[in-house]
Symmetry: C2
Amino acid sequence: MRTTVYGTGLIGTSVALALVNRGVTVHLVDRDPEQSRIAAALGAGTDVAPAGPVDLAVVAVSPAHVAPTLAEVMGRGAARGYIDVASVKGGPRRELEALGIDMHTYIGTHPMSGRERSGPLAATADLFEGRPWVLTPTRDTDTEVLNLALELVALCRAVPVVMDADAHDRAVALVSHMPHLVSSMVAARLEDAEMTAVRLCGQGIRDVTRTAASDPRMWIEILSANPGPVADLLCEVAADLDETVAALHALQSADEAKRRLGSAGIEDVLRRGNAGQVRVPGKHGSPPTAYEIVAVLIDDHPGQLARIFADADRAGVNIEDVRIEHATGRQVGLVQLMVWPKSASVLSTSLRERGWSIRQ
Amino acid sequence: MRTTVYGTGLIGTSVALALVNRGVTVHLVDRDPEQSRIAAALGAGTDVAPAGPVDLAVVAVSPAHVAPTLAEVMGRGAARGYIDVASVKGGPRRELEALGIDMHTYIGTHPMSGRERSGPLAATADLFEGRPWVLTPTRDTDTEVLNLALELVALCRAVPVVMDADAHDRAVALVSHMPHLVSSMVAARLEDAEMTAVRLCGQGIRDVTRTAASDPRMWIEILSANPGPVADLLCEVAADLDETVAALHALQSADEAKRRLGSAGIEDVLRRGNAGQVRVPGKHGSPPTAYEIVAVLIDDHPGQLARIFADADRAGVNIEDVRIEHATGRQVGLVQLMVWPKSASVLSTSLRERGWSIRQ
């Protein structure tokens, strides 16, 4: 397979590195030739333009530039098939249709990979390993082009997921865009809070607000390309908020029947939250709550984590997940080791025998 | 010091265990004698009633039972000083005042400790180690009683924080109760979502919805005792939501000036989220963003974490925090090691030399 990657940022360069690792020829093009030179220097392919049409063109530019870039490369027949990798799919498709482009040879795709950092220097060949990679073919898509795209996804060792473009946009609004904005709104409440209150922050708010630390510039681009589905979901959250505020006010009523209604309202939102949370896939697709936690007290001396993990290994227990929770202003903390239930007591006993202080 | 602990659930029994470990005499009382027998069997003190008044009575019952229990034990002069440890402070105080109780010898307190589990069997002597323990004395509080309470907090190795009762309730609404409800509302959106969409869940929504997994019964009790401050904060979130929905709608406008306003609105909420998130204390009170991440690719073989931590230790680098991110439906994952910036390149280089695949 011969490919050209247009746009050598984090995603484009990572795709190129994965393809080169598997013996695919990759040409690198960027409107800033310095960027494609860096990508080439990293071993992601050649920044010399291809002599004739390649098999697959991968357009890895920001959402707003997808349609114009595709129109240009498709217009001059640069490849047999074309994909883009932008994080929204409905808008670019409609823009291409409005430009009167022949859509048989194009598939909108979206690799679901973390991107805390950007640019070619942050790229790695394994960025897509084991992650979902959404493909949005239509009934008009050439089978040959679909197979080229599936081959690329397989070469990147990602897991292909076929979806309708608009369904994709609603899905990422649900699992990524809406939660990100809500996290920002919770975090925003802390901006002007008193220091005494902020000192009381624990693991709960730390988790809820973690994603609010992300770079606003990237998120403005993403949200600007998917405003409709995100707004719809925020309206659903707003309706829940209104009902919950009403329930909290009812709890302050002198009338016991009203207080009972208020309590039922609060219980309803908490139980629906339980029901939704349990669907969030953890490792092996199982809910994270299936793990049991063995909590170990540590102080801040170097090497304590190494010793805990070595001791867990000696006990023959595989740690499935781990969290470190630090005490406020103190040099002590808790390491929460998440293990399958059958291993929890083995691990606790073994770590206790080796002198660790276990809270469980 | 001689003490009586009323209510031998998780908190009461943990306080008792901590006190017994430091040589304090503890009497255990529970309305269910079976519970106090279990606590006594765990080494948390004696379930024989004290012969006369003790120094400090610790009332460790649920918020709704605090005032009646205190009224009873204070009425018969069971101690020189009285504290409760419920998670809200304004309501119980007002109930006590309404009962005409002499408040000189009482201090409302709240140890800020995680409680995923409940009951005496989940109790541990180190539950409060390094955690904030809020004390809400008033100008009428006897200094002797304040010193007894401070001594108890010190014996539990917690960090005392003095606050006004209502300020405490607003603070926990901010850092715990409101984020919990909002997390539930985000998670609730997944309850009826299509499986294809749920498969796309990543680390962001996993973090935002983690706390929504908690037991609703405990949370209904907590929220019922603090409805006012929680409702106020939810109204602030609702105002942000409305503005954000309006901004998203403006982004869909044909008018470029409106689109610019929409973009500015989105940027505003994201930037305020940044500003708030950075205040959430991590270890050493510094923002978590001060760490650099060294990401290591692992597969699911036992012992990999142990080897990574041992190798980090050999490199002389202290791991400040760690996250494990698993790939969907695959046996591979990323271990994110958080270290101080000066250690990041040392660690990357050293782990690479030892054969680890680093993404950084």
